[in-house]
Symmetry: C2
DNA sequence: CCGGATAAACTACACCGGGTAGTTCCCGAG
DNA sequence: CTCGGGAACTACCCGGTGTAGTTTATCCGG
């Protein structure tokens, strides 16, 4: 036992998960080798197998953790930009830009998501469910809550907050995600801002309150 | 030479490309083996290498062809639903539903797109460009043309037809694509219709002409 | 219209080099 | 004495090649 448990030195374990995140994100599940992960962690392969039973377990473990971390990161962005709204349109744009950067920028958080999406047919249904729940679904629920609050304050007109959250994500994020292949290819900052702005304007045409000036 | 050229029996070549499409779509690039493709095609492995120099060439070849085929298929759908529009909202919904089915239904056309997206970091930039141009970009341009025509007739209010086409695709298609992981997981028909309808309604809030009744 | 020669294409199968997941063994350090 | 380093080892699978023999299309003389 002690396979997936907390056996071994915690520092080593941390190094392994960190390395696995990097390598899986860079190479994808199939191409990534356990040797490469061990090397990246500065650790013996023996030690890797001492902490995680096999490759799949390691992958799913880091994927789940990564998903939760990203959700938290996005939650912080929402707290920063969508809690005390003064200039709605600009705050929405800022949030959209920052989220796109956080997820897609230079292979950190989004890379593992790309690996998951590539391997989705080979992932147990319950694990996939858990990943979705800790990641995209959780973020969308958070966003829906914020939109509901903004509607309460009369800044948005929203019947179905979940639907509004999905539409916001589609309009301000998925276009960029698709263009950059979920972070695999770089995308210019100005492009991100352009798409985010256009997306927010479209969103406000759907859910904006009254006539927002001009 | 004669590697990628028209050498060999055309029927065999066809069988190989068909098999490659199936296997690459089902397994992805890395997991798919040349032996499996040869077996699926009912052909000797040597014959495969007689027609295509190596695995990568075969993959890129079928991916490009597939991309073009899908674009044509979607073009037919546009001709059917967006040319002689009588009931705009319903026609847009029908088009959205049919397109989602054509792309995502049961591992045919969309599967290779998933493989491309998974492997995007390992694909030469010019080939990727060609794939985009023959596939998503071409479809989007077609759609933009149709929207421009509809705007001409006063059925839509569109400043930037390209932008409108992108927004339509995001609102009516990408939500489904993401949910089903580009066709890897099945998605209920009613779900497709629900999302398409909500997407079209949102789209018409942005670009609809006047007040489309109540 | 026919039948056999000819060459290109295809099959079947063994084979090579290389790489991977996972295990084991020995040894050293704390 | 426990944990990890290091490396070798097993057992496999894959991409690609070489070869020897077989099929298939094509064409030519009768």
């Amino acid at each position: 036992m002690a396979a997936t448990g907390g056996a071994g030195r915690p520092e080593k374990r941390k190094a392994i998960t960190q390395a696995a995140t990097t390598v899986f994100g860079r190479e994808g599940y199939v191409r990534a080798s356990m040797d490469a992960i061990a090397a990246e962690a500065g650790v013996s392969k023996r030690t890797v197998y001492n902490h995680f039973t096999d490759k799949e377990t390691l992958f799913l473990s880091v994927a789940l953790r990564n998903s939760a971390e990203l959700t938290e990161r996005i939650g912080e962005l929402m707290a920063k930009y969508l809690e005390r709204v003064v200039e709605l349109r600009q705050d929405l744009i800022d949030f959209a830009v920052q989220r796109a950067r956080a997820v897609l920028s230079a292979g950190e958080h989004g890379a593992l998501g790309r690996a998951i999406r590539a391997e989705v047919a080979n992932i147990p249904a319950d694990v996939l469910e858990a990943w979705l729940e800790a990641g995209p679904i959780a973020s969308q629920r958070d966003l829906a809550r914020h939109f509901a609050a903004l509607a309460e304050r009369g800044l948005l007109v929203v019947e179905d907050a979940e639907l509004a959250a999905e539409q916001f994500t589609l309009l301000t994020f998925h276009g960029i995600a698709e263009r950059s292949f979920w972070g695999a290819l770089p995308v210019a900052d100005e492009e991100v801002e352009r798409i985010a702005t256009a997306g927010v304007d479209a969103f406000l045409r759907i859910h904006g309150a009254a006539s927002p000036s001009a």
